[in-house]
């Protein structure tokens, strides 16, 4: 559905999902395009980033950020074009990075907007490899994981927006890099296109044995994006003084409130803590902009260089049309995307 110049489509959170989100939890509504007032700009969304953290914002359980209110627009990072400006900092036609959510248009007073290079052939990279997901990969791996050349780094969700960058940085740093991904096609991509040393398919019935075989010297850094059964296979392979940056736990994001506190089955907490103690492992969670905002410039300089030099490849999974955002997001939580998931709402300039 092409973007209208007179209607603003918005996708609202209509109910809080219990377990996996369904299309019922979202509502597409249309209304007039908002009018910018003095000091404001009108933004037209070109690209919307879809990311796993949004699942947390749909719930009202404890989180590091306030939930989206029922009836409000779903949040999300965006690349937009300035359509009208009553703000001297911005001119019509400027491209900006913002956080205007799942909608065609938004007005802004300019706070929190970052101007992008209008000549950049890949403005959507500001949502991915040169934006939040690349920054997450860079700081989590380098500041918490602290990989040393020759060490073994294992990355879950290896074909995803964060995992793919983590692994490529680890290769640049001289590590042996083993990816974990779902399916043979993703695994081939991770090895053939991204240059990981190995990739193991977590759908395989002998996944744990394959992972052990791919890590004959154990695991020094495990970049945690997943949790669940993947972590079960990783834990016994962690070496003494291993580091585990905890970036995400997508396997658990659809746990219900009840399940999240009391899932059935064996209690794996004592085994985890006993392993941390015995092997003197450091495990540390992080939330990228809360913890590392002042270091964005350092990241951006390094990553832009690597991308220009062709040392970091960034695959995008671009879905056309705002109306397809809910189904694309539901697929993301099931690992159906292949690369950074971005919704394209309008043609780039």
């Amino acid at each position: 559905m092409p973007q209208s110049t007179t209607l603003n489509r918005r996708i609202l959170l209509s109910s809080r999902p219990v377990g996996a989100p369904t299309s019922e939890d979202f509502q597409l509504v249309s209304g007039p395009v908002p009018q910018p007032e003095a000091g404001q700009v009108l933004l037209r969304t070109l690209f919307l980033s879809l990311d796993p953290y949004m699942r947390g914002r749909m719930s009202d359980g404890p989180s590091y950020a306030a939930p989206v209110a029922l009836g409000e627009v779903m949040v999300g990072g965006t690349v937009s074009r300035v359509e009208a400006s009553h703000n001297p900092r911005f001119a019509m036609g400027d491209l900006v990075l913002g956080y205007t959510g799942w909608q065609d248009y938004a007005v802004s007073d300019g706070q929190g907007l970052t101007k992008l290079d209008a000549a950049d052939p890949h403005p959507s990279h500001a949502l991915g490899v040169l934006g939040m997901t690349g920054f997450t990969a860079y700081m989590g791996l380098l500041d918490i994981g602290k990989p040393v050349a020759g060490e073994t780094v294992v990355v879950a969700a290896a074909s995803g927006a964060v995992g793919s960058v983590v692994g490529q940085i680890a290769r640049i740093k001289g590590c042996t890099v083993v990816g974990i991904a779902g399916g043979a096609e993703k695994c081939r991509y991770v090895v053939d296109e991204l240059g990981f040393d190995h990739c193991v398919d977590h759908h395989s019935s002998d996944f744990a044995a394959q992972l052990a075989a791919a890590c004959p010297k154990g695991i020094d850094v495990y970049f945690e994006n997943v949790g669940g059964a993947v972590f079960d296979a990783v834990l016994p392979l962690l070496n003494t003084r291993a580091r585990v940056p905890v970036c995400g736990l997508i396997a658990h994001y659809n746990d219900t409130a009840k399940n999240a506190t009391t899932p059935g089955g064996p209690d794996r907490r004592a085994t985890l803590m006993g392993t941390l103690l015995r092997k003197r492992i450091r495990m540390q969670g992080f939330i990228i902009f809360d913890d590392y905002a002042p270091r964005f410039g350092e990241f951006h300089t390094a990553m832009s260089t690597w991308v220009k030099e062709g040392r970091i490849a960034a695959r995008e999974d671009i879905v056309q049309g705002l109306e397809n955002a809910p189904s694309a997001f539901m697929g993301l939580l099931q690992g159906k995307n292949f690369g950074k998931l971005v919704i394209q709402l309008a043609d780039a300039p």
Copy 2:
């Protein structure tokens, strides 16, 4: 039973415990006092340290140190007197810190022995506040916990050898310190004698509510010695960017091999990892001499000063007679000791 000058009593590991150790797992045997050869010294044990880590050495599961072999003397730190010396570094009457285990006598070539001040009125402190347990408290709290004045530090096993020192150092550093201990008498001691701000009895039926009330600003550093139900109450109180040094998990040391990997009941691992992520918590295990041996001097200087100034109190639970070591050790795993548990084998000089 007084120490003989002609017989060497030794306590051997006779079987590997399944669950809690029993007296059947230990065997007291007697034999001749060993004779030192050229370069060796004969050591008579005055004090034997009993510590929770010894439970791990009784099992042959994965650990950071080799298990005690069946039929071998139980390991342990000792303060001994040199009874005969064929080694120019030592003279008869010298007091030394060593690791000669659960026995009256040992010979040594001098390697690993540290001479103690023979005039020290409390030579057994070399096994506690000025030795392994004090060093553990010092490095775990300061190097991993990194407490800042005004923060809230919670210490489990607060009347024990490590916990009591952790809390007192945290007080010196200007923190609010909340202890957790078993029983009203221990709690009174922790507050009245050690100067903690509060102490909560984990035997109380409303323990979790009492802990929350004692920590109105949440928990910034939790020094983990225990695991299990105590950690259940701590986890929801941890603040953003909290630090959790994992020093011990005594609640789990008697888990059987089967239970340790698959205990029943709710799986608390996902909740733990989700909390680490959401609150950006750092959790890190450590093994004191493996990780920090080069910093023993720094610790010893600081701690000796604090003890001399009366700023750190060190309570010992001294049990007389090597033959009582097994029952004292079994009690230690159940929290029956009150202060640093030491077996006195002979009168100090």
